[in-house]
């Protein structure tokens, strides 16, 4: 990855974070913490990895992305808007009555959303069904799913993990955002999902662990995922919940709480300073 590519991705991620704060602030609700921890991934997916076209959001061979941790919709929406799927200004209608930007992703109303999600554990199963169907249809697309580290406490996730291995879904890549926090506190105190990598491998997946805020490591992991044949691939990314907004970082309290006017002002100030720094690089 060239320095310029990395810079462009950093800028995109910073803008995604801005969209997350603008959206959740305007909504007076929503989930900024996990959206921010996944912001770098959203930027990478929509500006580097996914074969998608905002002018043809339903093209048959597009890569599918399923936000299994659907509550991080503010991050997904910001990335989709930034990529041109719908107007950026619409982010401020997030969760508003009669807005198409529902609190959790709605495939029927939002351009670029391939599966409605929100009830944890179901998205990864849907992604399995998509990957399976793609093989039957000789569709060259790849299917990506993003899960939370709290989400993998759902038993259904492991039903899906068995399924993906059993049917050799090597066109499927699952990313687990291991930010370590869920609503009630640290994941290892609420109900430990660890060791995550060992579990994935025991379920027959190829798996890698990366720093989820390092684009170079993302690039290497996604390349590795594509090279594997006959098995699904999982990327466990270590992240910081609330990443990019100083007072939200590593705070479980920011899982599902919107910033007030003052907090949003502070957060947007930090992000605009970061954006100016990146653009000056």
């Amino acid at each position: 990855m060239t320095a310029n590519e990395k810079k462009e991705l950093q800028i995109a991620a910073c803008k995604v974070r801005t969209g997350i704060i603008e959206g959740t602030h305007a909504a007076k609700a929503g989930h900024p913490g996990g959206s921010l921890s996944s912001a770098d991934l959203f930027a990478y997916l929509y500006f580097k990895e996914l074969n998608v076209d905002p002018n043809h959001p339903k093209k048959w061979d597009r890569d599918r992305f399923v936000l299994s941790k659907g509550h991080c919709a503010p991050g997904l929406y910001a990335a989709l808007a930034l990529r041109g799927f719908f107007p950026w200004e619409d982010l401020k209608t997030l969760r508003h009555i009669d807005s198409y930007l529902q609190g959790h992703p709605d495939m029927k109303s939002i351009p670029g959303v391939d599966m409605s999600t929100g009830s944890l554990g179901q998205g990864i199963s849907a992604a399995c069904g998509m990957a399976l169907a793609a093989k039957l249809q000789n569709n060259p697309c790849r299917v990506y799913a993003l899960l939370g580290d709290g989400e993998i406490q759902e038993g259904q996730v492991w039903e899906a993990m068995m399924f993906a291995h059993h049917y050799k879904l090597d066109n499927l890549c699952a990313v687990i955002d291991n930010n370590g926090l869920q609503i009630d506190g640290p994941v290892d105190q609420v109900m430990s999902p660890y060791p995550i990598l060992d579990k994935l491998r025991a379920f027959g997946w190829e798996a890698a662990e990366i720093d989820g805020h390092d684009f170079g490591q993302m690039e290497a992991a996604f390349a590795q995922a594509k090279a594997v044949e006959g098995r699904p691939f999982a990327i466990v990314m270590k992240t910081t919940k609330g990443k990019g907004v100083s007072f939200m970082e590593n705070q479980a309290g920011w899982h599902g709480k919107a910033p007030n006017d003052e907090q949003a002002g502070t957060a947007l100030g930090e992000l605009s300073a970061e954006l100016a720094r990146l653009e000056a690089l």
Binding site: S125, L136, A160
Partner: protein, 314 residues
């Protein structure tokens, strides 16, 4: 009815799937370790590349079926009614109902006639659960011929469908050559004017028998097969209410939330009419042979005739 051929509706489901598979490449079938029982194994044998056993994991199966449907496949997902509608309710609601995806749920072994397995496997709540999901079509065929036609109609229908099939062989009284099925349309099996009996599933044959018993006793009963519970054939129900004045509903389901309540809701708002609901009362079932259980719970021609006669004469 000893001389009548008896076939379980689940067998009609399996045969119809196999026939659909021959014509349509986009049919994909999921099962959850019950392929022999739900009869999707017939499809699996003919088209092994499009039949996917999910193991004992119904939640994953339903959401995976939704994913396949999101890719343009017409996905059939099967298990026992208890697990398809019950265990996987929330996956059906959120991944299939909310999305409006083209998933057809083929639920076998519905009702008390599951028999010996007992209460844990006798699903008496599936109509109620599935009816409450916006956009979900809910159906239960009266015989194997209707089951096959229903599966073909489900394939053609755009959107989610729930079909409940039975374990036990039931009389085949429709003619496969001439029978035409339409989602949302009830069929008058026998004309009558004193009382109308609206039934579905295996109780249609019992209701038809009850109609004969009632005729012998001087009661003219209209017998209606209401294979589609949702959307309900409102015109046919209202016509029966207007012309007969009293209605009995019969279903192999709790009296809470099924066909009986659908009929009552309609009539309460549009044409208040006295109704008696025959179904399982607010209790769980228990083990026993299917026929004995049906009789014990009053889900038989003799009891339908008894309830209808008393009601008609009251």
């Amino acid at each position: 009815m000893a001389d009548v051929k008896k076939i379980a509706t689940r067998q009609g489901y399996g045969e119809a799937l196999r026939e659909l598979g021959a014509v349509h490449d986009n049919v994909i079938v999921f099962d959850a370790d019950l392929a022999g029982s739900t009869q999707t194994a017939m499809f699996g044998k003919a088209y092994p590349g499009r039949h996917f056993n999910c193991g004992i994991a119904e939640g994953n199966m339903m959401a995976a079926a939704a994913g396949a449907a999101a890719m343009g496949m017409v996905a059939f997902a099967s298990s026992f009614a208890m697990f398809a509608a019950g265990r996987a309710y929330e996956q059906v609601r959120n991944s299939i109902g909310y999305t409006g995806l083209n998933v057809k749920i083929g639920a076998s072994h519905g009702g008390i006639s599951v028999g010996e397995d007992g209460a844990t496997h006798q699903c008496l709540e599936d109509f109620a659960l599935m009816r409450s999901i916006p956009g979900m079509v809910v159906m239960s065929p009266a015989d194997a011929v209707e089951a096959k036609a229903m599966v073909r109609a489900a394939y053609e229908h755009q959107g989610p469908v729930y079909m409940r099939f039975g374990r036990s062989p039931v009389p085949v009284f429709h003619d496969e050559e001439t029978f035409r099925f339409e989602i949302g349309r009830g069929d008058v099996m026998r004309e009558g004017s004193d009382i109308a009996i609206i039934a579905n599933g295996l109780l249609v044959a019992e209701a038809v028998e009850a109609g004969k018993l009632l005729a012998d006793r001087g009661v003219s009963a209209r017998i209606i097969n209401m294979a589609t519970i949702k959307p309900l054939d409102e015109e046919l129900v209202l016509k029966a209410a207007r012309e007969c004045g009293k209605i009995v509903t019969c279903e192999e389901h709790s009296v809470i939330g099924g066909l009986g309540e659908a009929v009552c809701s309609l009539l309460a708002e549009k044409l208040p009419t006295p109704v008696r609901r025959i179904g399982t009362p607010d209790v769980f079932g228990h083990s026993g042979p299917a026929a004995a259980l049906l009789e014990q719970f009053g889900l038989c021609a003799a009891n339908i005739a008894k309830v209808a006669e008393e009601f008609a004469r009251s």
